[in-house]
C-alpha cells in the first residue's frame, strides 16, 4: 500500500507566515521603487505634479486626523455597499443555481447593466438619491455586485460531471446537491468574485464622492479638494490611501478565503 504523505494541517499562522515569505521579493521591489522615486523627485527629475515620498509622509504626519476624518465614512459606505452587493449576488446566484434555465437571462441582463460606466451613472444617481450616504453605498454596491454574481454563477455551474453522476445515483434532491456539492465546489470561484468586488467597492465609493455623494466628508472629497487646491502632496496621500484601502480590502477577503477553503481546488479538476 502506498504511504500517503501526511500533510500537516495548515494553521492560520503558518499559512500567513508562508504568505509573508512569498511577499518578501515584492515588498523589496516596492521599497526599491520608492527609493528611486524619492531620488528622482528630490533631484528634480519629475514634474511638479508628482510629490516626493518624503513629502507625502510629512503630509500624512501633519494631517493624519483629517485623513481619517475623510477616510472613515468612505470605508463605512464601501463596506455597507459591499455587504449589500454580496447578499444580493449570492441570493441571485443561488436562485440561478436552483433554476438553471434562467441562468442565461440573468447573466446577460447583469452584464448589460454592469457595462454602464459607473462614472457616467453616478451623477444621475446623485440626482435621484441626493448627496447623502445612500448614493455612495449604492455605487459601491453596483461596483461590487457583478464580479460576485459572475463568481457565483461560474462556481455553482462548474461542478464536475462525475460528481453530478454520483449525486444522481444517490438520489440526492436538488437542494442536497446544491448544499453538499455545488456550494462547496463553487467556493474558489465565489471568493475570486468577492476579492475583486472588495477592491471595486472602495473604488465605487470614491467615484460617488467625486460627484458629491456623501456630502463634504469622504476620501473622494479630500482628493478633489487637494487636486483643485493644487496641494500635490495631499493629492498623492489620498491616492495612496485609496490604493491601500483597495489592497487591504482584497487582503482581508483573501485571509477569510484561506480559513474557509482549506482544500486544494486542483483535485476537483483532476476528477477526484
Amino acid at each position: 500500500m502506498t504511504v500517503a504523505v501526511q500533510r500537516p494541517r495548515l494553521s492560520l499562522v503558518g499559512s500567513l507566515g508562508r504568505g509573508v515569505s512569498r511577499w518578501v521579493p515584492a515588498l523589496a521591489l516596492i521599497a526599491a521603487l520608492i527609493a528611486l522615486w524619492e531620488w528622482a523627485a528630490t533631484r528634480g527629475h519629475l514634474p511638479i505634479s508628482v510629490a516626493a515620498p518624503s513629502e507625502i509622509r510629512e503630509e500624512f504626519a501633519a494631517n493624519r486626523d483629517t485623513l481619517w476624518f475623510h477616510t472613515a465614512p468612505t470605508m463605512a459606505a464601501a463596506l455597507k455597499g459591499y455587504l449589500v452587493a454580496a447578499a444580493a449576488a449570492l441570493g441571485l446566484g443561488i436562485f440561478v443555481a436552483l433554476r438553471p434555465r434562467v441562468a442565461g437571462t440573468v447573466y446577460s441582463t447583469a452584464a448589460i447593466v454592469s457595462s454602464i460606466p459607473l462614472v457616467a451613472l453616478t451623477p444621475v444617481l446623485v440626482l435621484w438619491l441626493d448627496r447623502g450616504d445612500t448614493v455612495r453605498m449604492t455605487v459601491a454596491a453596483l461596483a461590487g455586485f457583478f464580479p460576485i454574481l459572475v463568481g457565483c454563477i461560474q462556481g455553482f455551474t462548474s461542478t464536475n460531471v462525475g460528481h453530478q453522476e454520483l449525486f444522481a445515483v444517490m438520489s440526492a434532491r436538488g437542494w442536497q446537491q446544491f448544499l453538499h456539492l455545488a456550494m462547496p465546489s463553487s467556493m474558489p470561484f465565489v471568493f475570486a468574485g468577492l476579492k475583486a468586488a472588495a477592491a471595486s467597492a472602495i473604488l465605487g465609493s470614491i467615484i460617488a464622492e467625486w460627484s458629491g455623494g456623501g456630502g463634504t466628508r469622504g476620501l473622494g472629497q479630500m482628493m478633489t479638494n487637494a487636486l483643485f487646491g493644487f496641494n500635490v502632496p495631499q493629492t498623492w496621500l489620498t491616492i495612496l490611501t485609496a490604493a491601500a484601502l483597495s489592497v487591504g480590502a482584497y487582503g482581508i477577503v483573501a485571509i477569510i478565503e484561506r480559513v474557509v477553503v482549506r482544500w486544494d481546488h486542483d483535485h476537483v479538476e483532476a476528477g477526484l
Binding site: Q6, N160, G162, F167, M170, H180, L181, W263, L272
Partner: protein, 261 residues
C-alpha cells in the same frame, strides 16, 4: 438456474447527437441471479458503461424494460439500494475520508437501511483505518478508490455497479483491490456488475463473463466461470483459469474473425 434478481429485457438505448443516432445498446437481454457477480467486457463503444448507467437509472432505455428486485431501477435508486463505484473516485475534496463515506447516509436522511457496517468499520474493511480524518488530496490513487468502494457500501446496496473501478491503478494495487472487492462482495452477498477492459480481471472476479460487441452494442457470448471461490492470485496461474481466459479471448476476438470471413 437464477432467481432473476436483475432482469434486462430486450433493452435498446439510442443516443441522439445533433442529427446522428448512435445505437449504444441493441436489443440486449440479460438476467442476474441474486448475489451473482457478473463482468461485462467488450471493445470501446460496446455500450457496457451505458448498460451500467441504465441499471443505475442515470439514463433511461429507449426501448425495453429493466427490473431490479422486481421493481424499476428508478425505484431501487430512490430506495438508495444501488451502489456505484466510478472510474474516478469522485470524492469530495473538502470532506474528510470518513465524511466522504458518510455522504450517502446523509443524503438518504434516514430513509434507507444503514449498511451492516458503520463508515468507520467500512474504512477498516478497505484497509484505511487511521485515515478517517485525512482529506482525499492526501491519499494515493489506490487509497482514494478504496474510499469510493467504502462509500458505495455505506447503505447496504442490493446492486453494486463497478465501472472500471481499478482501471486507473497500477497492476499491484489493482490485484490487491480485486481480491479485497471479492472478499467484501462475499461478505455482503450483494449482486455485482463489473465493467472491465481486462480479461484476467473479469475471469478472476465474475461468476459469468458477458461479452459485448461494438456498434451496435450486443451481447455476443456469455461465459461461465466455474472456478472455486474464494479466488486467489494463485488460482490465476492454473490451467483452468487459462482455459476460461482463452474462452473469453476467443469470444472477444473470434467474433471479429467470423464477421471478416
Amino acid at each position: 438456474m437464477h432467481d432473476d434478481h436483475v432482469v434486462v429485457d430486450h433493452v435498446t438505448k439510442r443516443f441522439t447527437l445533433k442529427r446522428d443516432h448512435v445505437i449504444a445498446l441493441d436489443d440486449v437481454s440479460l438476467s442476474l441471479g441474486r448475489g451473482e457477480f457478473v463482468a461485462l467486457i467488450g471493445p470501446s463503444g460496446c455500450g457496457k458503461s451505458t448498460l451500467l448507467r441504465l441499471l443505475a437509472d442515470v439514463v433511461a432505455p429507449t426501448n425495453g424494460t429493466i427490473s431490479v428486485g422486481g421493481r424499476s431501477p428508478e425505484a431501487a435508486r430512490k430506495d438508495h439500494r444501488i451502489g456505484f463505484v466510478f472510474q474516478d473516485p469522485t470524492l469530495l475534496p473538502w470532506r474528510t475520508v470518513l465524511d466522504n463515506v458518510r455522504l450517502p447516509i446523509q443524503i438518504a436522511r434516514g430513509r434507507a437501511e444503514r449498511g451492516a457496517s458503520t463508515p468507520t468499520e467500512l474504512l477498516a474493511l478497505v484497509g484505511l483505518q487511521g485515515f478517517e480524518q485525512a482529506h482525499p488530496g492526501q491519499l494515493s490513487g489506490g487509497m482514494r478508490q478504496r474510499v469510493a468502494i467504502a462509500r458505495a457500501l455505506a447503505l447496504t446496496p442490493e446492486l453494486l455497479l463497478l465501472d472500471e473501478p481499478f482501471g486507473a491503478l497500477d497492476e499491484i494495487s489493482r490485484q490487491q483491490l480485486n481480491l479485497e472487492m471479492l472478499r467484501i462482495w462475499a461478505e455482503t452477498g450483494t449482486t455485482a456488475v463489473l465493467v472491465t477492459h481486462s480479461i484476467a480481471e473479469a475471469v478472476l472476479m465474475a461468476d459469468r463473463v458477458v461479452v459485448l460487441s461494438a456498434r451496435p452494442g450486443r451481447i455476443t457470448d456469455i461465459i461461465d466461470v466455474d472456478l472455486p471461490r474464494p479466488r486467489t492470485l494463485e488460482a490465476m496461474q492454473t490451467q483452468e483459469f487459462f482455459q476460461v481466459e482463452n474462452a473469453v479471448r476467443r469470444a472477444l476476438f473470434g467474433g471479429q474473425a467470423q464477421v471478416a470471413s
